[in-house]
């Protein structure tokens, strides 16, 4: 009887420990006013119910407080991000990972069109279960450096179709950046570096 009771107690404790390990407590910064907190909590709850990743929303709020943005601006930023997350999820599909959706939202913010995200998803197809996160990060980065987003997306699309690795995509980004800093035009830099990468991939055993 005692052994059975001890076993039950330990099993209960394990369950409690496992449950505690899975619960992540995210809270809004305490500097915010109660009304803003309530508004943000409603926004974030709506996003959560819609199945969108909410960590980026909490992070956006923290960043806004860090950058001393006024509260209406913080609320507007979170609203916009929630909308972008929804659009990214629609374009990338329901099976997209949270990190893909977040990167996709940032790519939309950088000026990419949702149709470009869908084309990227089609380019990957079912060849690999590899997320498009790095591809989307590279597109957003190139767009912030003055490369037209659609042009950047087309180049990255070409590389994703050929199953270029994440490491190679990041090297591609660096090389294009170097060319842009050196005075090359975005179109010229993209074209040259895309061809070089495709040639490299062809030469791989």
């Amino acid at each position: 009887m005692i052994v059975r009771r001890l076993a039950l107690a330990i099993a209960f404790a394990c369950g409690a420990g496992a449950a505690g390990a899975q619960v992540v407590d995210r809270t809004l910064p305490s500097q915010l006013s109660p009304s803003t907190r309530a508004t943000l909590e409603r926004l974030i709850d709506s996003a959560r119910v819609a199945g969108l990743p909410v960590d980026p929303l909490y992070s956006k709020v923290s960043e806004g407080v860090f950058r001393s943005a006024d509260e209406p601006r913080v609320v507007a930023a979170v609203q916009r991000l929630a909308r972008d997350l929804g659009d990214a999820r629609t374009a990338l599909g329901d099976s997209a990972a949270a990190e893909e959706i977040t990167a996709g939202a940032n790519a939309l913010r950088a000026g990419l069109h949702p149709a470009d995200l869908s084309r990227l998803r089609e380019a990957r197809g079912h060849k690999s279960g590899h997320p498009l996160t790095v591809a989307l990060v590279v597109i957003a980065d190139l767009a912030t450096r003055g490369v037209p987003p659609a042009m950047a997306a087309a180049s990255v699309n070409e590389l994703v179709t050929r199953n270029v690795s994440d490491g190679s995509l990041l090297s591609f980004r660096q090389n294009v950046e170097r060319d842009l800093v050196g005075g090359r035009s975005p179109a010229s830099a993209l074209d040259a570096r895309t061809r070089a990468m495709i040639d490299d991939e062809r030469r791989r055993p």
Binding site: C14, G15, A16, A21, F66, A107, V137, A140, T144, Q174
Partner: protein, 213 residues
């Protein structure tokens, strides 16, 4: 009181049964004394009775029921111990599931670098951040992984290279960050950039791949 339609002999018998039995007052007093002296019954008595029944059924009359009595503090300590055991078992299970990695990889050729893959919960990778700022007196890292808190992750100067460095365990995924150099926020010149953050600023991005890929 007689019930309707009942025979008379039945009424006589029930009347006799209902008549109060005379009790001597001395007997009544002694009975009440005995009741007052007897110990109060408890739930354990019921358990003991059931245990005795079980002994008879199981055929092991020689077994004795053992009981453990814990005071309040001892009970609390025991409960705390059980929870700690449970948490420890869970932590160990999650750590072993993460696996171990010894290969060193670079997230980018420059910029944040994956340094090691020591096993840890939630499959975190160690990422090294560095910034060349020779005239700075204080550099901190802020980002989505530390609630943008400038006090959370200070960098220290590497005596060999003179660069400001810090290594962090980050979970797989995309993380945005910036450096705070003597109070001024700046991006990492060696890392990809994120689009405008709606606060008029640009952040840097580091991507941590899953240890299994």
């Amino acid at each position: 009181m007689s019930e309707p339609d009942s025979p008379r002999w039945l009424d006589e018998i029930t009347g006799e049964l209902r008549r109060e039995v005379p009790v001597r007052s001395a007997w009544r007093a002694r009975l009440l004394e005995e009741v007052a002296r007897a110990p109060k019954p408890s739930a354990r008595d019921d358990i003991d009775d059931r245990f005795s029944d079980w002994q008879e059924i199981s055929g092991h009359p020689e077994r004795r029921r053992r009981s453990i009595t814990l005071g309040p503090l001892a009970g609390l300590a025991a409960a705390t111990l059980f929870v700690a055991i449970g948490a420890g078992i869970t932590y160990t299970a999650m750590s072993s599931r993460a696996g171990s990695h010894q290969a060193q990889r670079a997230a980018t050729a420059t910029g944040p670098q994956l340094v090691s893959g020591a096993p840890s919960p939630v499959e975190r990778e160690v990422v090294r951040f560095e910034l060349s700022a020779p005239r700075a007196s204080r550099v901190a890292l802020v980002g989505s992984f530390n609630e943008w808190n400038p006090a959370a992750t200070p960098l220290s100067r590497d005596p060999a290279s003179g660069k400001w460095v810090v290594s962090l365990r980050l979970p797989p995924g995309r993380h945005v960050y910036a450096f705070v150099v003597d109070g001024d926020v700046t991006t990492d010149p060696a890392a990809p950039r994120a689009a405008d953050d709606d606060f008029g600023s640009t952040n840097s991005v580091v991507f941590v791949s899953s240890p299994r890929t």
